[in-house]
């Protein structure tokens, strides 16, 4: 829905949230910014969430009751909460993470599934939506300001967040809670971008949108009350790809380069023979079918694109000069090896990299934090590393 413009409606409210001195001359809050209402949990969902939390809190006992053995691969132990979640999903016939009959149906399914237990937590000082210019029409963005903003002596960094979902599914709402966690824990502002999705908008539309959003953020960070010198990119899965590709393209083609990149189990390669892609391609959430479907939607397996660094950044001839990175991978994720490898490659190219593999986690764990404490802890550890690097 478009919002009617009432210039300056929010300016005073936002100004109160900014640290002193951040209000540069001529800065102005986007005219059409509106607060974002949360989604109430239905009573049924509240009950289910209590049950899910109860069960997951006793995951080891539950697994023993179900006579399920701990799972170990290459010295890594699958977290019991993840194992139980996967078992519960399988019980409901959900064997793929993303895939649906059609992109539209998949979007509905994933949205309903992800938002079933999502809550507007942690609380923010403000959450607003507005539109910024984009190459294919205006882009909707959601801006998070954590409570830390009013305590800090200087403006907070700003992270442009690109959500995951195989370039095909998910939206601002599905990644609302991860964005809040990042903002709260890493003490940053977050600008989450509703980029265009494939297959309606295949490559390069999502990259163009991500780059446009970053360029806008780099230029307008001060206006948002953030530190213009510390504007970074972040993203999970497909969004991690868009984040690092944004950095790479900025480096190559000039213009502002992200201060830092926060990559959560990013897609960075198209090599289907990597051990994790082969060995973990089913039973651990993200499946081979999911990955093939996403690739089909995004690039239609175009051969030239499968070698293009704008799609597979790890194949770039040179990654010299890439911004500092925090890379968070998951031990039971088909994308584990390429993420781990990317950390090495970046380091070899001279980039400061903090890499942390959440050993027992599966792909998509940042969206499970509303029921799983171990998923929440893993995301928080990643955020702590980001805070350390900023």
């Amino acid at each position: 829905m478009a919002y009617p413009r009432e210039p300056g409606a929010l300016a005073s409210e936002i100004r109160a949230l900014r640290p002193a001195g951040a209000d540069a001359p001529g800065s102005m809050w986007p005219e059409d910014a509106v607060p974002v209402p949360d989604y109430p949990l239905s009573q049924g969902a509240q009950r289910e969430q209590k049950i899910a939390r109860f069960l997951l809190g006793r995951a080891r006992e539950m697994l023993r009751l179900r006579r399920m053995r701990p799972i170990e691969r290459h010295g890594r132990k699958l977290d019991p909460q993840m194992q139980l979640l996967l078992a519960l999903r399988a019980q409901q016939g959900q064997t793929n993470l993303l895939l649906g009959d059609s992109p539209a149906q998949a979007r509905v399914q994933v949205r309903m599934g992800t938002l079933r237990f999502a809550q507007a937590e942690p609380a923010m000082a403000s959450v607003h939506e507005f539109r910024i210019p984009g190459p294919g029409g205006s882009l909707r963005v959601r801006h998070y300001v954590p409570h830390a903003a009013s305590e800090a002596n200087s403006p907070l960094p700003l992270m442009v967040f690109l959500h995951g979902g195989g370039f095909t599914v998910c939206d601002l709402d599905t990644h609302d809670q991860p964005c809040r966690t990042i903002a709260d824990r890493a003490r940053v502002q977050v600008l989450s971008v509703d980029y265009r999705l494939s297959p309606e908008h295949p490559y390069p539309a999502p990259v163009e949108d991500a780059r446009a959003a970053f360029a806008w953020a780099a230029e307008h960070a001060g206006m948002l009350g953030a530190d213009p010198k510390r504007v970074g990119v972040a993203g999970d899965s497909a969004g991690g790809n868009l984040a690092t590709v944004t950095a790479l393209m900025a480096l190559r083609e000039g213009g502002p380069v992200p201060h830092v990149q926060f990559l959560i189990y990013p897609v960075v390669d198209a090599d289907w023979t990597r051990p994790s892609r082969v060995e973990l391609s089913r039973d651990f959430g993200l499946t081979l079918k999911d990955m093939e479907w996403s690739t089909q939607n995004y690039t239609a397996f175009d051969e030239a694109l499968q070698a293009d660094p704008a799609v597979v950044p790890i194949r770039a001839k040179s990654l010299a000069g890439m911004p500092r990175a925090v890379i968070l991978t998951a031990g039971f994720d088909p994308l584990r090896d390429e993420g781990n490898d990317y950390a090495q490659v970046l380091r070899a190219a001279g980039t400061d990299v903090l890499h942390f593999e959440a050993e027992g986690m599966v792909h998509g764990f940042i969206n499970m934090a509303s029921v799983s404490t171990s998923a929440r802890d893993a995301l928080q550890q990643g955020c702590d590393q980001l805070a350390a690097l900023l």
Partner: protein, 509 residues
């Protein structure tokens, strides 16, 4: 919160009572006629009655212990609705004799502006559409009808000034209305020609008087009436099992019973052949009657099945070229169920017209909300109809959903909601997939279906499944638009040629 309610039938009166019970008084009800009652005000033909037991076909929050018959006659249902309107002081909210012409969504104020025939414009945050699918009479376009010199009227607009005594009458249609009014007029008229397109399945109506002692008991012990209502509900709901799960059972039990009844009532083999349906029972409305067959077997009744070619000044000519002189034509041709909203009547975001958007396939999310039409709630929308039990049950399920939506919006400072297109599509795919396996997915024609044979009218499942889905407002399926700090939602306003004024509690002129 403020609302404009269109129509004062069961839907409009019901939601208005619920709004009041929840402390919302800021609403008007716009009614084109001079009284409440909807179809129960309009259908005054002889013999008009409900074909759902009245203890079920009434509000669960407003029991009536005084139904005199199992299947209440029209005048009792009409009186019931009038009593409801009086009891809850609804009449002061109603603007009678003012037809809604155009409802337009105003994005800037997140409100609906409703223009009426009298030149007024009401504006409020919500538009609650209680225009039922069976409110606009459907008239067939028959060549020569305009030249007809006798009386001609639709059963829902019965001409009580016209004395049928000793007249020759043509009845067009053999649906739920015709099978009630033909027995109602049969003793007065000289002759009736019944023009039938397809024969209805007819089963006996287990009707009867409710004796005074039972009425008194219901009055003294409401729990007893509640128990009776539950019994009616589950009896009706148990029938849907065959419709939904095992259509073949309808053949084995339902059709056999109906055929036995027909053969017992009708001896003439030629007539029997004409009035034996040639389609699976249940895919069109099953009709309940104890006097239809008795009426059409009378000597002064002809059942004609060749179709109508045209109408002359003094008679009706069938497809075989035979002209039959008549004094009056009565249309029992049903309603514009497939076009529940006239073109141009409801205009949503970006100037989108609801009737145009729908085309021949009306679609909504949970029968209630439509993508592109924020803050609009349809009461009795697409795929909420039922053929086996009380429509009031479906409406009350929607009332719960609507009230939860608007209270949750108020609590969370949301000024507008609009269902997401992809959620609406996914919902309808599920409904259609479900429909395909039921008796309504077997290629029938009729007012349940659009021109392509798609079921757009009926809920193809148990009604308690519908109720469960509408138990709580599921904001996740919606776009939400928040109020800005300091902003408040649109209160009820009326604009007359004299100027614009706020309406306190929907009460002033």
């Amino acid at each position: 919160m403020s609302a404009v309610i269109v129509g004062s039938g069961f839907a409009g009166i019901g939601i208005a009572i619920q709004l009041k019970k929840h402390g919302v008084h800021d609403f008007v009800i716009l009614e084109q006629a001079g009284d409440v009652g909807g179809v129960w005000r309009d259908n005054t033909y002889p013999g008009c009655a409900c074909d759902v037991p009245s203890h079920l076909y009434s509000f669960s929050f407003e029991f009536n212990p005084d139904w005199t018959r199992e299947y209440g006659p029209q005048r009792e249902i009409y009186a019931y609705l009038r009593r409801c309107a009086d009891k809850y002081d609804l009449r002061q909210h109603i603007r009678f004799n003012d037809r809604v012409e155009r409802c337009i969504y105003d994005e800037r104020h997140a409100s609906w502006t409703v223009h009426t025939q009298s030149g007024r414009a009401y504006s409020a945050q919500f538009l609650l559409n209680g225009m039922g699918g069976l409110s606009r009479p459907a008239l067939p376009s028959i060549p020569g009808l305009e030249t007809f010199q006798g009386a001609a009227f639709h059963s829902a607009r019965w001409n009580h000034d016209y004395d049928l005594k000793g007249k020759r009458v043509a009845v067009i249609g053999t649906g739920a209305s015709a099978i009630q009014f033909v027995p109602g007029i049969i003793d007065q008229v000289a002759h009736v020609d019944i023009y039938q397109r397809s024969a209805p399945w007819v089963v006996p109506k287990e009707d009867g008087d409710i004796p005074a002692y039972r009425r008194a008991a219901f009055g003294a012990m409401p729990w007893l009436q509640k128990a009776a209502r539950e019994r009616y509900y589950w009896t009706a709901e148990s029938r849907i099992f065959a419709f939904v799960k095992r259509p073949e059972l309808l053949e084995r039990f339902g059709e056999r019973r109906a055929r036995e009844y027909l053969e017992a009532e009708v001896q003439d083999p030629e007539l029997r052949a004409k009035i034996t349906p040639d389609y699976r029972m249940g895919c069109k409305r099953i009709l309940l009657s104890n006097d239809w067959y008795a009426a059409i077997t009378r000597d002064h009744v002809d059942v004609l099945t060749s179709g109508i070619s045209h109408v002359t000044e003094g008679g009706v000519v069938d497809r075989d070229g035979v002209e039959r002189p008549v004094d009056a034509i009565i249309f029992g041709t049903g309603f514009e169920a497939q076009n529940p909203v006239p073109a141009g009547a409801i205009v949503g975001r970006d100037g989108k017209d609801l009737a145009t958007c729908w085309g021949k396939t009306p679609r909504a999310y949970k029968g209630t909300t439509v993508a592109g039409f924020p803050n609009l709630f349809l009461l009795g929308g697409p795929n909420t109809g039922i053929g086996h039990t009380s429509m009031i049950y479906m409406l009350e399920s929607q009332f719960t959903y609507v009230l939860d939506a608007i209270t949750s919006m108020k609590e969370r400072r949301v000024r507008a909601i609009e269902v997401r297109q992809e959620h609406q599509d996914a919902y309808n795919e599920r409904v259609q997939a479900k429909s395909a396996t039921t008796v309504w997915g077997q290629g029938c024609r009729g007012w349940y279906y659009n021109a392509d044979g798609v079921n757009t009218a009926l809920w193809p499942d148990f009604t308690f499944h519908f109720r469960r889905q509408l138990k709580e407002f599921d904001a996740v399926a919606y776009h939400q638009e928040a109020l800005r700090p300091g902003e408040d939602v649109r209160t009820l306003w009326v604009r007359t040629p004299d100027g614009e004024t706020e309406v306190a509690h929907g009460l002033s002129a």
